[in-house]
């Protein structure tokens, strides 16, 4: 019990911060209320440091837990900076004009606490060692986001988006909960190590398989993969830009972590009928993910090409990125001892961190600009015309947008290239040549719309008429700057992150890759006595 608690220290820190923020955000003093953002960021930062130095997890991928928690918390810091000023802008203005403070009309406390709740949920996903835990963590990630979308702007579109998101999210949750129930029905356990050991010893039965399929499809709502992607564009467009950035990273990360944990239950060493020990998922799951990956990246990209709103383009491209990452899931961790380039899981984990940064940068450029609406209120920019000549007018936002969109495109030598490359190489190493070709074609299609961002900002002259104004929140531009600096520096000095993601992707208890050669920091052999039997069992099966 205490071991499990030690594992949860980062989440507990974030939760405590949430409690503080909830109270502080209701303070009658404006300065105190404004400290919510700083408090949240500090809490996340402390949580990140604790996660980095914390113990390895007790699941099938012990290294995954500290890595993904640190990534979520650190990018969470950037996201908290990015959401500055999203709510309470009019209320603050009214109070500063001499109005009376009304605690019922301020939204800051719940806004920041919901963000922190959602981040806590995502971090808890990484700690999950049980199906029920995983379900609760996923829901903790998602439920606050429904509210965040709704309250992010005062327009009716946000409310519509929130409602859509909630209902469709419930549908997705129903599907994966059904899947979880079937997995329990098929194996008799909800604990990951037990399920893995049973599958390893007895093979995968039909009920478990059906449960896995439904669970995967259901969780794919979180990552916005086909066929659960329909909500994406409407919701992303309806929410305020900073919240959209949040949606594009946090639920997606939680979803991918969950998928990795679920797939680790069955392992990647199932034989095809060619050799004694194969290197793939069970053929049905492989086919499922294959079809999903191919459709997700293709649909995301082709729909992004025809959009006219930058936010919708980024929304659809976020679908496409999920498609790319699914390739890494199919490839799996490769042979034991496989380097970074052959480990699909490491590729996905690296990609998540890289995508988080590039995503923050791209949205920071959008969130850093605004226009005056007809009634004089600030409204978000939502057309490519507003981005024209941005590099000349506002170099920081402009170059952030250019570099991040080129990086998202995967242009060497930027970070996006180095994160996409291992997806290709691991895909090739696992023999998924056709899928890799599909991914290559899709990367080319993505160039259409990402280059449009870069070209509009860098090459075109500003359009006539009123130019967009800078949003009066320096924290937003700063988050963009931090993202820009990190994207560029990781492009050249990404070794440490690659090594970390490689260590995070060591799958224990799955067949021949049983024993990790280099356990991640803090991992103690004694922590994992449960996993000893499933680790040994497949080896026997190989022998027989």
């Amino acid at each position: 019990m205490s071991e499990k608690l030690a594992l949860l220290v980062p989440e507990i820190i974030v939760f405590l911060t949430t409690c503080i923020v909830m109270v502080v955000g209701l303070s009658p003093n404006l300065a105190v209320r404004r400290s919510c953002g700083l408090l949240s960021a500090s809490g996340l930062f402390i949580a990140a440091i604790l996660a980095i130095n914390g113990p390895a997890g007790d699941g099938l991928l012990p290294g995954l837990t500290p890595y993904i928690k640190a990534v979520i918390a650190l990018i969470g810091v950037l996201l908290v900076m990015l959401v500055a000023g999203t709510v309470d802008r009019e209320e603050d203005a009214r109070v500063s004009r001499g109005g009376v403070f009304n605690a019922l009309r301020t939204n800051r406390a719940e806004f920041y606490s919901f963000i922190l709740f959602s981040l806590t949920g995502a971090m808890l996903c990484a700690s999950a060692s049980d199906l029920i835990w995983l379900f609760l963590a996923l829901e903790l990630t998602s439920l606050p986001t429904y509210v965040l979308v709704t309250m992010s702007t005062r327009g009716t579109r946000s409310q519509e988006a929130g409602v859509k998101y909630f209902f469709l999210g419930a549908l997705g949750a129903a599907v994966f909960l059904y899947g979880f129930a079937l997995i329990y029905g098929g194996t008799g356990s909800t604990k990951f190590v037990d399920i893995a050991s049973i599958i390893a010893q007895q093979g995968i039965n039909q009920i478990t398989l059906a449960g896995m399929i439904l669970a995967i499809i259901g969780v794919s709502f979180k990552i916005a993969a086909v066929p659960m992607h329909f909500y994406t564009a409407d919701v992303y467009q309806g929410a305020a830009s900073p919240v959209t950035a949040f949606l594009a990273f946090v639920p997606k990360t939680a979803g991918f972590v969950s998928l990795i944990l679920l797939l680790a239950l069955v392992g990647w060493d199932h034989g095809t009928d060619k050799v004694s020990v194969g290197h793939t998922l069970p053929s049905q799951l492989r086919l499922l993910l294959w079809v999903m990956a191919a459709l997700t990246m293709t649909i995301g990209n082709v729909l992004a090409v025809v959009q006219s709103s930058p936010k919708r383009v980024l929304a659809y491209s976020s679908i496409a990125h999920s498609g790319y990452m699914l390739v890494g899931l199919i490839a799996g961790p490769g042979d034991y001892g496989a380097g970074f380039a052959h480990n699909g899981i490491a590729a996905v984990l690296f990609y998540l961190a890289a995508y988080g940064l590039m995503n923050v940068g791209a949205f920071a450029a959008l969130a850093g600009l605004e226009r005056r609406g007809r009634d004089g209120r600030p409204v978000e920019i939502d057309s490519f015309d507003d981005l024209r000549g941005l590099c000349a007018g506002r170099p920081l936002l402009g170059w952030t947008l250019v570099v991040c969109s080129l990086s998202l495109l995967g242009l060497p030598p930027l970070l996006g290239f180095f994160s996409k490359l291992p997806l290709f190489t691991s895909g090739i190493a696992s023999g998924e040549i056709v899928l890799v070709i599909v991914m290559g074609i899709n990367s080319a299609i993505a160039a259409f719309y990402y280059l449009r961002f870069a070209a509009v900002a860098m090459l075109e002259d500003p359009s006539d008429g009123p130019k967009p104004l800078a949003a009066p929140f320096p924290a937003r531009a700063m988050s963009g700057l931090v993202a820009l600096v990190l994207v560029i520096s990781l492009s050249f000095f990404g070794d440490a992150l690659m090594k970390a993601s490689r260590n995070a992707a060591v799958v224990e208890g799955s067949g021949v890759r049983a024993v990790p050669a280099s356990p991640s920091p803090g991992h103690k052999a004694g922590d994992r006595h449960d996993a000893a039997s499933p680790a040994a069992a497949p080896a026997q099966r190989v022998g027989a």
């Binding site: 859509k164 066929p227 659960m228 329909f230 564009a233 499922l288 990209n301 080319a444």
Partner: protein, 748 residues
Amino acid sequence: MTIASDIMGSILHGALGAPGASGAALPAIEAGPWWVSLIPALPLLACILCGVSAAMRIKSKLPAWITVGCLGVSFALTAAMFQQLAGGRSVTIAWEWINVAWTDSGGHERSLIANFGFYVDSLTCLWMLFVTGLATLIALYASEYMSHDVGTGYCRFFAAFGLFVFSMACLVMGDNLILLYLGWEGVGLCSYLLIGYFYKKPSAVAAAKKAFIMNRIGDLGLALGIFLAFVQFGSVEYKVILEAAQPWLAAAQAGHFDEIPATVQLIPILLMIGAFGKSAQLPLYVWLPDAMEGPTPVSALIHAATMVTAGVYLIARTYPLFLVSEYALPIVAWVGALTALVAATIGMAQFDIKRIMAYSTVSQLGYMFAGLGVLTSTGAAFHVFTHAFFKASLFLSCGAVMHGFAGQLDLRKLSGVGFMKGWQFVAIAMLVGCLNLAGFPFTAGYFSKDMILAEAFVTPHMAPIGWILLLTAGLTAYYTFRVFFRVFVGPKYYEPGDEVHAHSDHGHGDHGHGEHGHDAHGHAGDHGHAAGEFHPHAPGWAINFVLLTLTVLSVGAAGLYFLGDHGGWVGKMVHASSANYPPIVDLAAHSGEAADAHAHADHGAHGSFLGMDPHKVMYYVSGIVGFVGIAIAFALHYVGRKTAATANADKLVPLLGPIPKLAQGKWFVDEVYDLLIVKPLHLISIVFAYIDKLLVDGLVNAFGWVPRGVGSGLRPLQSGNLHSYAVQMAGGVAVLLLIVFLASIAGL
């Protein structure tokens, strides 16, 4: 066994000594001092500062002084490095650049290590001394020469100049082939930028492109050579490669080239192609004469003294590899000798004095290659060293003439320049340079040329090369003094070149020459050149100082010959490095008098010159040949010459039939290349252009509208309607389940 292997075998036979003697090879490698890294870093700093100056729109000579200062310090450091060296070898690693290790499919540990490390031995010092020294002097010269362009162009020039010296330092000092390649490409780039400095002039742009493309052909060979060296030796570092070649030297000595792997023998041949491109040898020499479109200081530094000797350096640096190859050195020797001859014949018939110097550079480079080929790496290095000084001085003298006479370079339109007021220094510099180039006795050029000539006759089977080189020496003396007798002496006459008008484009008004310290020439008057009044302006202090220094240095270089046995000071430098021949040195046996007779005494087949010992007789023979050449030039171009345009030589021309025409047309090599290579390639490119237009563009366009079409087709599904979304999601789940189910049944 082929003739070539016979040649290499018999050459190496006596020289190598007992096969077991390889223990006494080269001195151990030490860690060098950190400040060695500053030698390349300072020129780079100069380049960056010049870039900053350009950005700040500085309109003064500041970039020149920055460059001269940085290069000067760099030269001082090189001198310090030379002092510290004391016959050893050292490697200074500035930072780890490439360090990759992996396990190949066979389970072998492989690694690719290419550091920004600087390998310093005596050969490096030799090269760096004249590279940084000349670069400093020529930058000083250029500060005046380029003064009509003060502003952005001035900054651009010196930025490229600094970058060139940085690249050259990387090329020479790099401790691995990758860094050499980096420098190699860097100097190529700078050469391109500086040839095309007058980028508004179409001929300059064409020349820049020609130089770049010709070099690329050679660079391909170099790159392949480096790849192959890595495949063969598992490393690109000199310390590994040079050691790795040692075991095969014994086999080469015995003439058993079939025991040496073919890849090892192929490596030097590929490297050699790179060297031919960079050093303008047959068949890739045609870019160098055209490169004279660049400003003269560039021609002097890059296209005469330093960059073009990079090929010689490459071969000298990897000499052990060349020694174990059956064909490499014989090819080098023949290519060098033929280049020397062909370029000399073309040089005889040209009228543009800078172009004549360009052909003489090609010709002298041919000498150096021939020297390498006939196994006198010492002679080749010595010739590189002396040539650097006297050729730089010759170019700069021509440049001074060009600068003073508004771009006039035609020797038929200039005469008696040496007798004009203020031109004495130039004339003296020119005379000393010409004497060196012609191989006049007791000049530096005479000694270095002799070494190559003598060795060509000594080395078995190489006598034809000796005869070619001897003939070339005579031709060289003739065409060199043809320039001198026509331009610098004789009746005074000049026609200004066409840059009189070009000058006015630079807006003379804003920088009257008087400010720049050479107001004595009365140049102010020629601003009104509309009336056709032109006064040549004699060079100022910077140009005169540099010319004088170079003259002293090229005279002084002769003294180096007496600073030691067998090749003098340069010989010592080469002996202490990997470029030494014979390759395995017993250093103890080499000191003292025994050294002179080191290899020759053992030579089984010691060559001779008409039955005499070439080492003794060659001093007289080449001196006589030089005299004869000068005398012919005197008779044909000085005696009885009344005007600038005509001389006695013109009477001879009809007697020679079509030969002068052909030589003046450069043997129409450019036209032949055009017909054989450029035209067919152009034809192919037209075909490909159509394929590209119709097929590829069509595909790309299809690629463009297919996603668009699919996207538009899918768009209606994104209706924004919650119900339809839910139905589609449920439908999607059902379809996926169906696919998996059907696939399970079908047994996929």
